[in-house]
């Protein structure tokens, strides 16, 4: 019986090992080599990892990755939850609005990036036109080292808050009605119902949404590559962008692998921490 079970599982386990463990293992092996394709790979031990520690661009990349992650995730969770509550309370429009709000996250990243690039162009973009029309000074948006990360976070939030909203809406619809009935009988005000009942009960759903977005946000790439390529300077160069450029523009595959393995470790660590958090808030 047990043997049959193992045999049945074997293909799936083998497939998973090949698809996950092999690329990771190969990437790790590559990260221990000096390889720029002009010669055979040369084993250099941990030299690439030691170089990371002394590389200011690595630390800039780490800072940008974390900053972008925090701003985007917090904004998306707040706005997504708010949208979900709005949708949940306006039942008549729910289907129509749900169809409309999913449109940003089904759009290809290239379309999203190019659209916002034009909208936010400091010379000809509509965003500055609107700002000046309402008496505000124009902004350099993606061209400002100070504003580039918040601007990219804004684009990502525009695209992915509806995704959070749909997940949270699903959670809202599955909450037990009896708790709300009890609150109504006790005369609890609506605000207290939201903060003391709805939100705590939604925490496992919100945590799940946070885990899903965290994986994407920590390896954020497409919108940045399309809009700024990591610039101005290195102001929006996340670890993923830096690793990609090192590998595919400068052909330092060993060092790029060390960057990517480090980033993968950060992603795995974050997902494990968030999974524990989700388990802690499950009711």
């Amino acid at each position: 019986m047990r043997r049959g079970f193992l045999l049945l599982c074997a293909p799936a386990v083998l497939f998973t090992l090949v698809m996950i463990a092999f690329p990771f293992g190969y990437g790790f092996w590559m990260s221990l080599q000096k390889f720029d394709f002009t010669g055979a790979p040369q084993f250099i031990g941990s030299a690439n990892y030691l170089r990371l520690m002394d590389d200011p661009r690595f630390w800039t990349g780490m800072r940008v990755t974390i900053l972008l992650y925090v701003i985007s995730l917090v904004s998306q969770l707040i706005i997504g939850t708010y949208l979900a509550v709005l949708l949940h309370s306006s039942k008549g429009l729910r289907n129509l609005v749900r169809t409309v709000i999913i449109s940003p996250f089904i759009m290809p990243p290239v379309v999203v990036g190019m659209t916002w690039l034009v909208l936010l162009d400091p010379s000809i973009g509509a965003a500055n036109y609107v700002l000046t029309k309402v008496g505000l000074p124009p902004s350099e948006w993606l061209a400002s080292p100070q504003w580039v990360v918040p601007t990219i976070a804004m684009i990502d939030t525009w695209q992915w808050s509806p995704y959070i909203a749909l997940i949270v809406l699903g959670g809202l619809q599955s909450l037990p009605v009896s708790v709300y009935e009890a609150a109504q009988i006790d005369g609890a005000p609506r605000r207290a119902v939201f903060w003391r009942i709805t939100l705590p009960l939604l925490m496992p759903t919100i945590a799940t949404a946070a885990i899903l977005r965290s994986v994407d946000l920590l390896r954020f790439f497409d919108i940045i590559y399309i809009t700024t390529q990591g610039g101005p300077g290195n102001a929006s160069a996340t670890l993923n962008i830096y690793g990609f450029r090192m590998g595919f523009e400068f052909f330092e595959f060993g060092y790029a692998s060390a960057l990517v393995i480090t980033l993968s470790t950060v992603v795995l660590g974050s997902v494990l921490a968030l999974t524990r958090l989700r388990n802690a808030v499950t009711w």
Binding site: A143, G233, N234
Partner: protein
């Protein structure tokens, strides 16, 4: 020296090539794949793709990307020694040393040697052929000739009483006067996007008297280097378009064509797109960047077409290369605005008539000819890691443009990394 000697030998031998009827149908039925970017050359030449397929019976498959994405695809394909790409576009001044060292170019010298006389291999630009030859290996055949040139709005400058600057230093005064006269327009625009800007910055650097490497040492931060960085950064920060650090050729072209910039330093290759619609045809002057303390040392480069070292169909691939870079084809492409890398093509009556038809076309072509006569292809450091050197040059320029660091400090920080690359180059 070896490089020029090789080119000379190849050209001499090719001149003796047999004049027997060339068998265009020898590879009938084969399929070859071309990896290309969105450069104007493939757009122009592939309008005649049917002719090639009818002439040879070879089927041409296309794989198209943006320039940077094309390189990434190339790296993946060639690093895995895959035979799925037979022919690809390449910029020898950028990736040439790297690709040649990796063994990714098939040597085109034997093909040139056996090409028929009517191919006129000897007429291909010797400078560009030399720049594409690495330790005797001919990596690419030039497709065009291009370089950064100044586009001036003469009507606006006349209205403001500002002369076309005659020196690099005079550009600041001109930009300042234009800003005061036309506050709603952009006095000066040029590339600011980090990976793209060394193309334009290198002319400032060389004209100022700079040289990237001297006796194995980076001289990026020589007096001339710091002055050039400071001038480029100041001009774009104080008189450039908002958001200039994200600007590449597309934004510069769009701004100038729309009549929003007055002095624009862009690629000669953008002549067609800049003049689209005809609004700029009668109010523009085209010239080289004004000279600096180091004189006038323009940049001139040419895209090339290469055959993959891992192609199984190199001979059929050469048929496409020979057809696409033949004097007849380059003469047709010249009439579409691609500056030809062959002197004979440039002197045909049709091309001369095309140039004379619009005075600005002639000015444009004369400017390219002057660049070709006196220019160099040194965009970034002349080392294997040339693309990476461009990154550090761009970083220093970005920091100066944004006012984050002085030119001297930005230069010093970049120079540490640049020297590391020079040392690694051996």
């Amino acid at each position: 020296m070896l490089r020029f000697a090789t080119v000379a030998i190849v050209i001499a031998l090719s001149a003796q090539a047999h004049a027997a009827e060339f068998d265009w149908r020898k590879h009938e039925g084969e399929t070859i794949t071309l990896l290309k970017s969105n450069h104007p050359w493939p757009k122009a030449v592939l309008a005649y793709q049917d002719e090639f397929e009818k002439l040879t019976g070879i089927k041409l498959k296309l794989d198209t990307y943006q320039e940077q994405q094309m390189r990434q695809r190339l790296v993946t394909v060639l690093n895995s020694r895959s035979n799925e790409i037979d022919i690809y576009m390449s910029l020898p001044s950028r990736e040439g040393p790297q690709f040649a060292k990796a063994g990714w170019y098939a040597d085109l010298a034997p093909y040139l040697k056996s090409a028929p006389a009517e191919y006129e291999a000897g007429d291909l630009s010797k400078a560009l052929m030399g720049a594409a030859t690495f330790d005797g290996l001919v990596s690419t055949i030039p497709l065009n000739i291009e370089g950064p040139v100044m586009y001036y709005r003469t009507d606006v400058m006349k209205e403001c009483g500002v002369d076309v600057p005659d020196s690099l230093e005079a550009m600041v005064d001109a930009a300042k006067a234009l800003k005061e006269c036309k506050p709603d327009m952009v006095p000066f625009s040029s590339r600011g996007l980090k990976p793209a800007m060394p193309y334009t910055y290198s002319v400032f650097f060389h004209n100022m008297g700079g040289q990237y490497v001297t006796s194995g040492k980076s001289t990026f931060c020589s007096d001339a280097g710091v002055k050039a960085l400071s001038l480029y950064g100041d001009l774009l920060r104080d008189y450039g378009p908002p958001g200039v650090v994200n600007n590449s050729y597309t934004q510069i072209t769009a701004l100038y064509r729309a009549g929003r910039s007055i002095m624009s330093f862009g690629s000669s290759n953008e002549f067609g797109p800049v003049m689209e619609g005809g609004a700029r045809l009668n109010d523009t002057k085209i010239d080289l960047l004004p000279p600096g303390a180091g004189g006038s040392r323009p940049t001139v480069i040419g895209w090339g077409i290469a055959i993959s070292a891992f192609s199984d169909k190199k001979d059929a691939a050469w048929y496409f290369v020979q057809w696409a870079t033949s004097p007849e084809m380059q003469a047709r492409l010249a009439l579409k605005g691609l500056a030809p890398p062959r002197s004979n093509v440039a002197s045909t009556p049709e091309y001369k008539a095309w140039l004379e038809e619009v005075p600005l076309r002639k000015e444009w072509f004369d400017t390219i000819k002057r660049a070709a006569a006196t220019g160099n292809s040194n965009i970034g450091f002349p080392i294997v890691a040339n693309p990476q050197s461009r990154e550090y040059i761009g970083q220093a320029a970005n920091e100066t443009m944004l006012g984050e660091k002085s030119a001297a400090d930005a230069c010093k920080a970049a120079d540490v990394e640049l020297q590391r690359l020079v040392d690694a180059d051996g």
